[in-house]
Amino acid sequence: MAENHVSTTNACKMCTPMGASLAFRGVKGSMPFIHGSQGCATYMRRYIISHFREPADIASSSLGEKHAVFGGAPNLKKGILNVTEKYNPEMIGIASTCLTETIGDDLKMITTEFLSEFADLDLPHLVTVSTPSYSGTHLNGWKLAVRSMIEKFAGSSPALTADNTINIFPNFLSPADIRLLSGIFREYGLKTMILPNISDTLDSPSWREYINIPEGGTSVNEIALAHRSKASIEFGYFHKGESAGSYLEENFSVKNYNLLPPVGMRATDALLSAIEKITGLERPQRFVNERGRLIDSLVDGHKYINFKKALVYGDEDFVVSMVSFLCETGVKPVIAASGGKADLRKRIEAICKGFCPCPLVLEDSDFDTIEIAAADIKPDLMIGNSKGFKISKKLGIPLIRAGFPIHDRFGGQRIITTGYEGALSLLDLIVNTAITTLQEETRVGYGYM
């Protein structure tokens, strides 16, 4: 087993402002802005572009040495003006960094000051979030950014009558998954407020001419009405102060449903049940059929994958939801690892109950530790992002790519994992991976099954 290392080797996480920048990308006309040195924004853009294959402009206050000494406020203000002039955004989402948090820049204060200084200008909405990279991971940054947008906008429009809209806080899923989820609600005939909605902004069609800010995303006006929605559904684990759904429940009595990301049968069932509980609607036949097809396929595929051992790694919500799905297929998760922290052991234990023994859970972990565990436990397959490829290659374990980032394959933005459809698509990958191994390792051929 892995010893307790002081240092981190090959991180299985990204930094907090990265998550915030991605979340800000899911708002209509929004420009993410990193208050820090230029490198942060550039590195994140580079990282995001490789996964989504989309432009990912992130502005920066480009702090230099004198700003680090005297404070970054002047550059932040100048930066906001320049972004406003050039991009004409409806909103600028400003995330702090380790540098600006440590020199003591107070984003809320600086932006308030800015707005009063330039009160005569037509300025975009400014949302700020505190995301020092020494605290938490990209997933925390994502959730904090969403929460900050809700705190800022929800309730700012007068609550007329209660609306039938459902708020969805999907957390970090692929653009294709967001499209899929929004399709589920559409099937019920429901209106949604998805925050953030990266389905178009990070997976957009080709342009006819230059587009300042990618089209799509949820508008500030829609966010401003979130407090009168019928309910909120949020996916994933939230530390104290991170949940936008809880905020709406506490302040506006919008009932919040906290669910596992809907990966696999049980989690999708739970989502549909929640929708039906909120609305009293009946289950559309489409989902009955989809669920039936999933069961049918689980049966068709089970003999290839039952008792196969899997290593699952990635962000904490990805890991828990993927473990939940694998349990249902007969694949035994043997290692569940994340660079984040989210009370993983307890939650994974609960999810595996009645299906399989609880896997080795590695929290606040890195790929070095994961590799040591994998060499010891010898899983049959790995499920996670691109960064596990080195382990996959070294130990000869096939890797099924899902999550973020997918840097070494094409189409990471289009991978679906949610709903019965996503489960089916994952199941196909898993079964086919097992069959590929059989074809490679035996003389039988598996040419006609």
Binding site: H5, A11, Q38, S61, K78, L99, R208, N212
Partner: protein
């Protein structure tokens, strides 16, 4: 030509008229301008990272290490320690109480675990602020672990990538001269400023070998600590790339009196010229070297020219845009494009100097736009305005090109195909040809709208 240019950036964008233009440069990036530049840390990290048997420990919160984990795939013929990403992964308590103890413990465990020949410890933004004494920790660990543990003063906010290059050179320079330079030929060089992307330094080493030139140290592609320690025994330094390692060459000239030549291995003209000046440098020792070099160039050209001529026929008259990190590479690219019948209508760099831009103005065609420290908005505007067919840049520029229906060639440090040397020129031509000639552009709305505009010009004009 004023679309989307912020007024504070106006003098960083110039249209070439008579070749005497200057471009304002070497300025801090403008806040909010979405610069394509990175930071000081990035500069140091890219220069040192290919040293394959050294430990590269990033002292800071996780982001800086996560985003630079094996990003460039610099190849090594032996150890591959450089392809791992080590971080002290600082947390809140370290920020409050200081990170020195954690750094010490991290170095201790990592050096024990990996047994490197040296360790580079990179400072990040936060380290500069919380005031960790990197130098003191490194001195202590050097003594304790009996290998050079070298601080790299690369706090992100203390300038641009160029300052990072300088910090890297200073760090490497502490190694130079610490090992006896025995058994080194008088006809010998160090290769500076090549990072062995896709095995490029091996191409160059092969040419030099055929010329009878010994290579003492690769700095830094496929680099080794011990080679760098004795590289002051080389007779000459060959410096490629805009300044990444130029400072090291200058330091070595001053302390060890080793002359240096600036070279470029990109494109036929510059590649050949680079070999010829090396031959010329050593011709007083080796009488045959010039002839050997001529033969080498001739043979290499015979191998690539037939195919390049074919490609040229298909690309003739097409227009290219170039946006790269250092301007020196842009010089070679302008010539390389001419070689395949194309003209460059936009050229720029993240960190070019005044001298670089004067040179660019000299060698480009009238009407070419020259930009310093540009951004997606400006680049997009020029691509459309100039009717560019292919964009040469890095991954950050790729989606700009693709969204606007423009072919693309990755010429950044993340490239996967060798573009140096004579074979590299052929690869480059193939890359351009491969992207430009794809049928996908026929469907692209931005390209269709170009065709519409053209036909409306014809009918109305």
């Amino acid at each position: 030509m004023t679309l989307g240019i912020l007024k504070d950036r106006k003098d960083q964008v110039v249209e070439r008229i008579n070749g005497n233009e200057t471009v304002s440069c070497s300025k801090e990036s403008l806040a909010g301008a979405v610069s394509q530049r990175a930071c000081v840390f990035c500069g140091s990290r890219v220069v040192l990272y290919p040293i394959a048997d050294a430990l590269h420990l990033i002292h800071g919160p996780i982001g800086c290490a996560a985003y630079t984990w094996d990003i460039r795939g610099a190849l090594s013929s032996g150890p591959e320690l450089h392809r791992l990403s080590f971080s002290t992964d600082l947390r809140e308590r370290d920020i409050i109480f200081g990170g020195e103890k954690k750094l010490e413990a991290a170095l201790d465990e990592l050096i024990t675990r990996h047994n490197p020949k040296a360790a580079f410890v990179y400072s990040t933004c936060i380290v500069g602020i919380i005031g960790d004494d990197l130098g003191a920790v490194c001195r202590k660990m050097t003594e304790l672990k009996k290998i050079p543990v070298i601080p790299v003063q690369s706090e992100g906010f203390k300038g641009s990538k160029r300052e990072g290059y300088f910090a890297a050179c200073k760090a490497m320079f502490t190694l130079v001269g610490t090992k006896e330079p025995e058994n080194i030929s008088p006809v010998s060089v160090n290769i500076l400023g090549d990072f062995n992307l896709a095995g490029e330094i091996w191409i160059i080493r092969d040419y030099l070998k055929k010329m009878g030139v010994e290579v003492v140290a690769n700095i830094t592609g496929d680099g080794r600590v011990d080679d760098i320690r004795r590289c002051h025994g080389a007779a000459l330094n060959l410096v490629q790339c805009s300044g990444a390692t130029l400072d090291l060459a200058k330091m070595m000239k001053e302390k060890f009196n080793i002359p240096f030549l600036r070279v470029s291995y990109l494109g036929i003209e510059d590649m050949a010229e680079s070999l010829y000046i090396v031959a010329d440098h050593f011709s007083h020792i080796d009488k045959d070297i010039e002839e050997k070099t001529r033969q080498l160039v001739k043979t290499e050209l015979e191998q690539i020219m037939p195919e390049i001529r074919k490609i040229r026929e298909e690309l003739n008259g097409k227009k290219a845009a170039i946006y790269v990190g250092g301007a020196f590479k842009a010089f070679s690219l302008v010539k390389a494009f001419r070689r395949i019948g194309m003209s460059v209508v936009l050229v720029g760099s993240q960190t070019g100097t005044d001298e670089d831009y004067r040179e660019l103005a000299k060698i480009t065609d009238p009407g070419t736009v020259i930009v310093d420290d540009s951004n997606p908005r400006e680049l997009s505007d020029f691509i459309v305005e100039k009717g560019v067919d292919v964009f040469v840049g890095g991954v950050k520029e790729r989606p700009i090109a693709y969204k606007l229906g423009v072919a693309f060639c990755d010429h950044n440090h993340e490239r996967k195909i060798a573009l140096e040397g004579f074979t590299g020129m052929l690869n480059f031509a193939k890359e351009i040809h491969n992207s430009v000639t794809s049928p996908v552009w026929k469907f692209h709305p931005a390209r269709l709208s170009r065709v519409e505009e053209k036909s409306s010009e014809v009918c109305c004009g």
